[in-house]
């Protein structure tokens, strides 16, 4: 027989009775008043539900008619669970949770999984989804993004018609090589964005006027164009959207309790991961550009020159790049690191 001291609640009112619950070897259960020994309830068979062990929180024995017996005597309740119930995995769970060795293993497994999942798993999933999205949706998405950009930051190009058609003509051979991508080159006044170029998911590539003016010769712009085509070929726009969303879902599914927190930087890991994804894409696009330029006998150094000038234009006082660690907080790899292979290509 196992006797446990605790408190009895009948489920009808919040009244509390000090009580003793006894479980006999036959499985019969009695509950008696702890002070005067009066019988409160007796069950011929073991028909109570026992809450699982969880650290040293109180245990709750739920009786068939809604009564509850609450106790702190975890050891005795564990013996009951062992003897009278067929709970198999909750005791194990408690063992895992209460030992440092298991916790450390769990931590290691988790870090490996998170690292592997975020570095390889999510990007792979995103690529698979991106490749399977119907072109019509991709096209619509690109159209709408352009619409928003035009409404918010970009405005109509102020470049001469002659300059624009000269560039389009100069870009023609590059675009013709990528016949199965629906590439279109557009020019817009960048305004706040400054000298820049970007690729939309549907193959639209936008050059800002500022970028065109900053270029010393048209081949520099071709170098940038190949970088942007790299983004299109690798479906970076779509993959970024899908990857960032998946990241959010994954974290939500894992933690599921971000609400009600009192910390400020809970979003930091997400942001760092997204930035890391972005830098990976930039490197992929750079590699694509480098390969293309080399294959078509365009000196890769053009790209390096233009990048240098963009950096100078952005922060004229800066001598080079910031400290190394700032790379983790940036959407692009450090310029010095990026242009190195392009400069090497000139040798």
């Amino acid at each position: 027989m196992i006797s446990i001291k605790g408190k009895w609640y009948d489920g009808h009112t919040s009244a509390e009775v000090p009580a003793v619950c006894s479980i006999y070897d036959s499985g019969a259960v009695t509950v008696e008043h702890a002070v005067d020994g009066r019988r409160i309830l007796s069950l011929p068979r073991f028909t109570i539900k026992v809450s699982p062990r969880l650290a040293d929180t109180p245990r709750y024995l739920h009786f068939p008619d809604g009564e509850k017996f609450e106790t702190q005597d975890n050891l005795s309740v564990d013996r009951i669970v062992k003897g009278f119930t067929d709970a198999r995995w909750t005791p194990w769970l408690h063992r895992f949770e209460s030992h440092w060795r298991f916790a450390l293993i769990a931590l290691a497994v988790m870090l490996v999984f998170l690292w592997g999942g975020f570095k390889y798993g999510l990007p792979l999933a995103a690529r698979i989804i991106a490749d399977r999205l119907p072109p019509s949706i991709v096209h619509k998405a690109g159209e709408q993004t352009l619409g928003i950009l035009d409404k918010s930051v970009l405005s109509e190009s102020e470049l001469d018609e002659a300059v624009r058609s000269r560039l389009q003509k100069h870009f023609r051979p590059v675009i013709d090589v990528h016949a199965n991508e629906t590439l279109t080159v557009l020019f817009r006044k960048g305004g706040r964005v400054g000298p820049n170029a970007f690729a939309l998911p549907d193959g639209t590539i936008i050059f800002t006027d500022e970028m065109v003016r900053l270029a010393d010769n048209d081949d520099e712009l071709v170098a940038v164009l190949t970088h942007e085509i790299g983004h299109v070929v690798h479906r970076h726009g779509l993959r970024a959207i899908i990857q960032d969303s998946l990241l959010g879902f994954a974290l939500l599914a894992i933690t599921g309790d971000a609400a009600g927190s009192s910390e400020l930087f809970l979003g930091l890991p997400v942001l760092l991961t997204q930035l890391a994804y972005s830098r990976t894409f930039e490197r992929e696009a750079d590699n694509y550009a480098l390969d293309y330029l080399r294959a078509h006998d365009i000196p890769p150094i053009h790209f390096a020159h233009l990048m240098r000038r963009i950096e100078q234009a952005a922060s004229p006082r800066s001598k080079g790049s910031g400290p190394k660690w700032s790379g983790y907080l940036s959407s692009h790899p450090l310029t010095a690191e990026r242009i190195q292979p392009f400069e090497k290509g000139a040798d």
Binding site: K7, Y9, D10, G11, H12, T13, S14, A15, E16, V17, H33, D36, R38, I40, S51, L54, A55, D56, T57, Y60, G66, E67, E70, L93, F96, E97, S98, W100, F102, A103, A106, V109, M110, F113, I137, K140, A141, Q144, G147, I148, I241, S245, G248, L252, A253, I254, T255, G256, D257, A259, G260, S261, S262, E263, L264, F265, L266, L268, P269, L272
Partner: protein, 452 residues
């Protein structure tokens, strides 16, 4: 200081009496209604009179035994400042003091209020208030290990186990919180949570895919989402309340979707239209909606704060805000990098300021029957908590989060107590319908924890 007794009936009728006879005696001698008499006789345990001196308890016990009820006297723990009630007849200052206390022969005519006070037969007479602090025994390390093991299982099962993980985490947190020695219990069914989670997850995936791919019409999506926010709020609160219990009595939430729409859509929408003037009012309406619709068993919570209290609270932040902005501006002038730090400090301070003030106001204005809550969070202490939590979370890339959660809860509960008026044994269970978990899972987007 003497010893005091409770007069307790535990469902046993004396030999020689049957149910009907005892019922009739109760009706006759104690002027109880038929329903009340039956209710008492059917209960397995009811405190008929609490914390009275020995003579009063014996007299009442005898009277009840004459009616056929096998009552017992139990020693009652007494607060230090407790003023005992005796059965002195004619004490007019405490009109409810001898509902059952005087022997029937002495004051037959004065016993009618026992019937009038309904189920509250066992309510303690006008005692002095007793302050019962909430206790929290949760431990950051312990919770971290639980979180870790269960999160691993969630990952290994591709998120399916996450419903069980959630229940386990919540059970730990609830079980670690105690009031007067009784633990809180989280009773949600993981399978139900899993279903809700799947629906919410699919909804979330569709929603965010559409808004990302079609930014121009995403406005309509968010409008659609806004339309279901009131429903989400109600269902989430109801699910959580319904699955929380203390002393084997469940909490409940009964807010209507219409009121929810007013509190969470209509008033917030009017805030920008009135240049923010309505912000404190909108916030007040939300708190009121949340508190007033909660219940413990069949007893509703009451909310006594007024819109004026919330305006005063929001306005009181004005001085620190202006001072802080001045400091930030000065810092920006002197040394720009310093301004970032100053801005962050100001933000943290305001965050702590509002969290503390709104929490205190909400709890200090909440009542359950005649019992009140007392919250006394301190801005300085909370600020230290938020700063250390934020730093540790940032430095560990989020791994500190479970720890931070326990620290925050422990602080909140260490500053929260229940001020009772009468005893807390008499709450009666309420009838509540089962609630699905879709709303609760969807509310993961929103921060709507009332924090019981």
């Amino acid at each position: 200081m003497g010893i005091y007794y409770n007069v307790v009936y535990q469902g046993k009728i004396l030999e020689g009496f049957d149910f009907e006879a005892a019922k009739n005696k109760l009706i006759e001698k104690f002027s109880l209604s038929k329903e009340k008499a039956e209710k008492i006789l059917r209960s397995r345990h009811v405190v008929l009179k609490k914390t009275v001196d020995e003579i009063t308890a014996r007299k009442l016990g005898l009277a009840l035994k004459q009616a056929g009820l096998d009552v017992t006297l139990t020693k009652s723990p007494v607060p230090a400042d407790f003023q005992p009630m005796t059965a002195r007849s004619g004490s007019k200052t405490e009109p409810r003091s001898d509902k059952l206390a005087a022997p029937p022969a002495a004051a037959v005519g004065r016993q009618t209020d026992m019937a009038a006070s309904g189920a509250a037969v066992a309510q303690t007479p006008a005692t002095k208030n007793l302050v019962i602090p909430f206790e929290f025994s949760g431990n950051g390390l312990e919770y971290f290990k639980i979180w870790l093991v269960n999160t691993i299982l969630s990952i290994l099962t591709l998120g399916i186990y996450s419903a069980w993980a959630k229940v386990r985490r919540k059970k730990y947190i609830y079980g670690s919180a105690r009031l007067n020695g009784a633990g809180f219990e989280y009773l949600a069914d993981p399978v139900k949570i899993l279903k809700g989670r799947l629906i919410a997850f699919v909804f979330l995936v569709i929603y965010s895919t559409l808004t990302e791919l079609f930014p121009l019409i995403s406005f309509f999506f968010s409008l659609g989402l806004m339309a279901i926010v009131p429903w989400i709020v109600v269902r989430a609160l109801a699910f959580n309340a319904r699955n929380s219990a203390l002393r084997n009595i469940r909490f409940g939430f009964s807010g209507s979707i219409m009121d929810s729409a007013k509190a969470f859509v209509l008033w917030p929408m009017l805030v920008p239209l009135t240049l923010g003037i309505l912000a404190p009012y909108a916030y007040y309406r939300q708190r009121k909606f949340i508190v007033e619709n909660h219940s413990y068993g069949s007893t509703r919570f009451a909310f006594t704060a007024t819109a004026r209290d919330y305006y005063r609270l929001f306005l009181s932040a004005f001085v620190p805000l202006i001072l802080g902005l001045g400091l930030v501006a000065a810092a920006a002038f002197a040394l720009p990098p310093l301004a970032v730090l100053a801005g962050l400090a100001l933000y943290l301070y305001l965050f702590a300021f509002y969290s503390v003030k709104t929490t205190n106001l909400q709890f200090n204005s909440s009542q359950l029957a005649a019992h009140r809550f007392k919250a006394s969070l301190k801005i300085k202490e909370y600020l230290a908590l938020v700063v250390t939590n934020s730093l540790a979370t940032a430095l560990t890339l989020g791994l500190f989060h479970p720890w931070a959660r326990i620290r925050t809860l422990r602080y909140h509960l260490s500053r929260l107590s229940l001020v009772t008026s009468g005893d807390i044994d008499t709450f009666i269970a309420g009838e509540q319908a089962q609630v699905g978990s879709v709303g609760e899972e969807m509310s993961n987007f929103f921060d709507i924890d009332i924090g019981f």
